[in-house]
């Protein structure tokens, strides 16, 4: 760009770089002090207990309480992820294809719960799903059941509420991907004789896959770390990993065990992000919220 000698421009570049680093420094310090150091401390604590030990990790893999909780968490995460995809795909498709004002209405229905507190939504599901709740009343009125169903204080309640809370994390990446798929492609497919289902399967579905992957990853990873919802709707029986972590701290004062469980959970999450990050840039995935 400049015709001057290389030396001043290089110095300018260095100064520029130093200034930018300085500007980012306070934010980076906050994150370092409140994420990196605390988590690093936990990691150290998980392998140090009056000397180096892998005892806490050994217990995760051998003691039933621990690996059962991991198995349960992964099972719930898998269920929630598949359900959000099943429910989220049609909604995103409708939002991407409907005309005004319908598309605005659909997006509003997705965004309003998205910005409602997780606590509020957990409370609402508690009310809706309890024995004398609205869901049971309705089912009984329509003669579908004779006895109230146990829909809350168990795994089912946890799944229903978790799917609800995470559905927007599926719809939003799907919607932003679908919106970019040119309509002409589907028209071209139709003009070449493909039926609507055929065009959907061969053109639209493959092109929407990046959104599907982003949504699946976000929902799966977020479910792995869910705490409030299973704590309030699980009825003390649906013990997910994050609850094992908090119980070890709050009830048993077992810092080593809590740290080790936390580290294993973190490794799972980071591994998933790293694997998917090879296909889709991470900042694109995280920009959804």
């Amino acid at each position: 760009m400049s015709t001057s000698t290389i030396d001043p421009s290089l110095r300018h570049q260095r100064r520029e770089q130093a200034l930018m680093t300085l500007l980012a420094a306070p934010a980076v310090l906050v994150i370092a002090a409140l994420v990196v150091i605390p988590v690093g401390w936990l990691a150290a604590q998980s392998i140090y207990d009056n000397g180096f030990t892998l005892e806490h990790y050994r217990r995760i893999f051998t003691e039933e309480v621990y690996w059962r909780s991991f198995a349960l968490t992964f099972r719930i995460a898998l269920m929630v992820t598949l359900l959000t995809l099943l429910l989220g795909y049609p909604v995103a498709y409708a939002a991407a294809h409907a005309k005004r004002p319908w598309n605005v209405l659909i997006l509003a229905c997705v965004m309003l719960p998205f910005w409602t507190s997780v606590l509020v939504r957990a409370y609402a599901w508690l009310v809706l799903l309890q024995r004398t709740g609205v869901a049971n009343q309705l089912l009984e009125r329509f003669g579908l059941i004779t006895e109230p169903l146990a829909m809350v204080h168990n795994e089912l309640g946890t799944v229903i509420a978790t799917v609800h809370i995470l559905l927007p994390f599926m719809v939003l990446p799907l919607y932003s991907t679908m919106q970019k798929i040119p309509r002409e492609l589907m028209l071209a497919g139709a003009s070449l004789g493909g039926g609507p289902l055929y065009s959907f399967r061969r053109i639209f579905l493959p092109l929407s896959l990046p959104g599907v992957v982003a949504g699946l990853t976000l929902v799966f990873v977020l479910t792995l770390g869910f705490y409030i919802t299973p704590e309030l709707l699980g009825g003390g029986r649906t013990i997910m990993i994050s609850m094992v972590v908090s119980r070890n701290v709050e009830l048993y004062n077992q810092w080593g065990a809590a740290s080790a469980v936390g580290v294993v959970l973190l490794i799972c999450v980071l591994a998933i992000f790293a694997a998917v990050g090879r296909i889709i840039p991470l900042d694109k995935m995280l920009g959804q919220k």
Binding site: A94, R121, V134, H164
Partner: protein
Amino acid sequence: MKTTLLPRLAFGLLVGLILIYLMLPVLIIVPMSFSSTRFLTFPPPALSLRWYQEYFGNPNWMQGTRMSLMLGVLTVLIATPLGTAAAYAISNAQNRLMRSLHMVLMLPLIVPIIIVAIGIFFVYAKLGLIQTLTGLVLANVMLGLPYVITSVVAGLQSFDKTQEMVARSLGMNRLRAFLTVTLPQIKASVFAGAVFAFISAIDETIIALFVSGGQYQTLTKRMFTALRDEIDPTIASISTLLTAASFLLVLLAMSGQKKEA
């Protein structure tokens, strides 16, 4: 595309049902909060403002609310300038160092919050920051930073940087050029980031469960504890107010962003 009416109608019905599922909690909370009885029957037998009186008349709920609002404001006041400065640095210096710093700044969105919470609990215990306002504000600044940064980076992407260069070549120093030329054009993004950081601070529960307490208990911590014990209908009135507040704030943030675009 020619599709027959029936499949389209069925599809519309399906989407409608899913949208009702999405809106159900909000639709149920509002009438519940105006119910006259303690029992959670729907529809409520009679309307009353009983649960709102319960909320506004209870010093514990009021203390929690004041605490959460103060926490939200302090968080925004710190997270917005820090996040904006970092976003400016990220979008101006596209070198490898800055890209990895950007990743580091997104960590609060990646690491499960329960892990961060007990880590912070442990570190705060050593530093004597448990049950302090400082400790809570710092933790919420950390959680709010990614929202401010994401929003401002997006705003700076659509801003023409040569304008700031022109201002500087005309003799303004960098800070003045930023404040008078750049900032006015990205202010909606900064504002949106601030709103999201505010909502995140008001909503935050898990870290507050561990590190807040005594006179510094947040509203969400009180709600969580109340919910774990029994279903108190006062929570419905608080929930209605919270939902209305965050809805208004988001509308405000989005209308600002739209004007900018």
